[in-house]
Symmetry: C2
Subunit: 271 residues, 2 copies
């Protein structure tokens, strides 16, 4: 994903480039957010910042000042296309003796603007990934920078007709796609994995849980997915994308899914 | 760990700084080696390079040409203290769409020289860490850049009287210290965890397995460690360090451990 513009900070000081000793590069010691930009603003900014602050607290990284960050993001977006993607990386900065955190942490922030991916309205074709997500409650739900499992999973296929892959955790539970959350309509209810031990708690997922009547977390096995009445993936860049096919199983458009997408579009016109 | 000298490469081309879109920073998508320098050379160079090549193969990252890398390392070390630490980071480079690897991978290499830590001959005082290592056979044994578990574990204490922490995996098996491998003398044999599902297969560990008579991999529980006749940690920077205390348990110097350290010093005088 080539950047249209990038701004790098040590604390609040602008830097020309990342420090080669940055702990983000050394250990994946940080977090990120990938945000949809529409009309030169980020419609879900508050939700992204709340997740970032929660992740920073769990990792013990000082979160950047929210007003400062909003100002820097606005300045970067003012010179960018109105429809775009904004990525934010927050790391524990440089320093420390080995894994030991530095005595005084000056976090690194990288803001970068990227072109919006080509429009795609679905339906998606999915596969099952072979790589399983390890169970790590201390990191589950966070959008942290330790993403080798997703990299290995996404490298399992290069057929452009396959859009995404669903991942199981080590206990065989459906967890998420490599870069999206998953919802299955089961008995008329939208269900999504609970992510207590693996996976990323996405912002679009949070919107669905808060806005789809009866939506809730549940344990889902592959058979639950394959027998679901409807299936969709969601993330903060593309919103809600219906799944049309997974292996031998095909789904026709479903009125409950169409209704949910209309509701999302009313709330966030970008989607 | 502040660097005395740093050299950054995109492929074999020298770069002034890391690319902010480097996949090492974005996803921890890479590997590293931490090497003892003695007499301006790396005594275990071949073993480090072999591990790097194996890790690169498992992650699907092209390994740098060994002769080129040796030349660049030698040039950097020629201007550095004769006794030092050389760190090598290899990443999948910049690019790709999200987690998807780039169509053509031009790896990043970062070489950096660091001061040798202050001399310390042990004995070590250890603790048990609360963070457990997730089970991930696809990444186990590799010295990859996804090290948040070690960062969280090392952040559990800041008492300078505690030198290191032992980590269990999610199944309750002793796996390693945060930045070292562990050997326990049990029934007259040096035993070390097998690392099929978690942990880093260290270079010093490899030397011990190859050189200590009867040393072998075994499943070790905390009780096995606490009842061991002797205990040591090892890594490629410090060699073999005896453990003197773990919680309430204390160990006196053990002749088998003294003999093993003498053997290591004969083989690699730096230790």
């Amino acid at each position: 994903m080539s950047a249209l513009a990038t701004a790098i900070y040590r604390g609040q000081e602008r830097m020309p480039a990342p420090d080669p000793a940055d702990r983000g590069l050394a250990y994946g010691d940080g977090l990120f957010e990938t945000m949809r930009v529409s009309g030169a603003v980020v419609p879900w900014w508050d939700a992204h910042l709340a997740r970032l602050a929660n992740g920073a607290r769990r990792l013990g990284i000082p979160a950047p000042d929210a007003d400062w960050l909003a100002g820097e993001a606005a300045a970067l977006l003012a010179a960018a296309p109105a429809e775009a993607v904004l990525k934010l990386v927050l790391t524990r900065g440089a320093g420390g003796r080995g894994y030991s955190p530095p005595e005084v942490t000056v976090p690194t922030v990288v803001l970068s603007v990227h072109p919006l991916p080509a429009p795609f309205d679905g339906p998606l074709t999915l596969r099952w990934c072979e790589v399983r997500l390890a169970l790590q409650p201390r990191l589950a739900g966070l959008k942290h920078l330790n993403r080798l499992e997703q990299v290995l999973a996404r490298a399992e296929w290069n057929d452009p007709a396959i859009h995404e892959g669903l991942m199981l955790d080590a206990a065989g539970r459906v967890t998420c796609a490599t870069a999206a959350n998953v919802f299955a309509l089961v008995g008329g209810r939208w269900l999504t994995p609970a992510l207590q031990e693996a996976g990323v708690a996405g912002i679009a997922r949070g919107w669905v849980l808060a806005n789809a009547p009866g939506a809730q977390e549940a344990e889902l096995r592959p058979a639950d997915i394959e027998s679901a009445e409807a299936l969709f993936l969601c993330n903060a860049v593309r919103g809600i994308l219906p799944v049309g096919r997974l292996g031998q199983r095909a789904w026709a458009p479903h009125p409950a899914l169409d209704e949910l997408r209309r509701r999302l579009r009313r709330d966030v016109p970008a989607f």
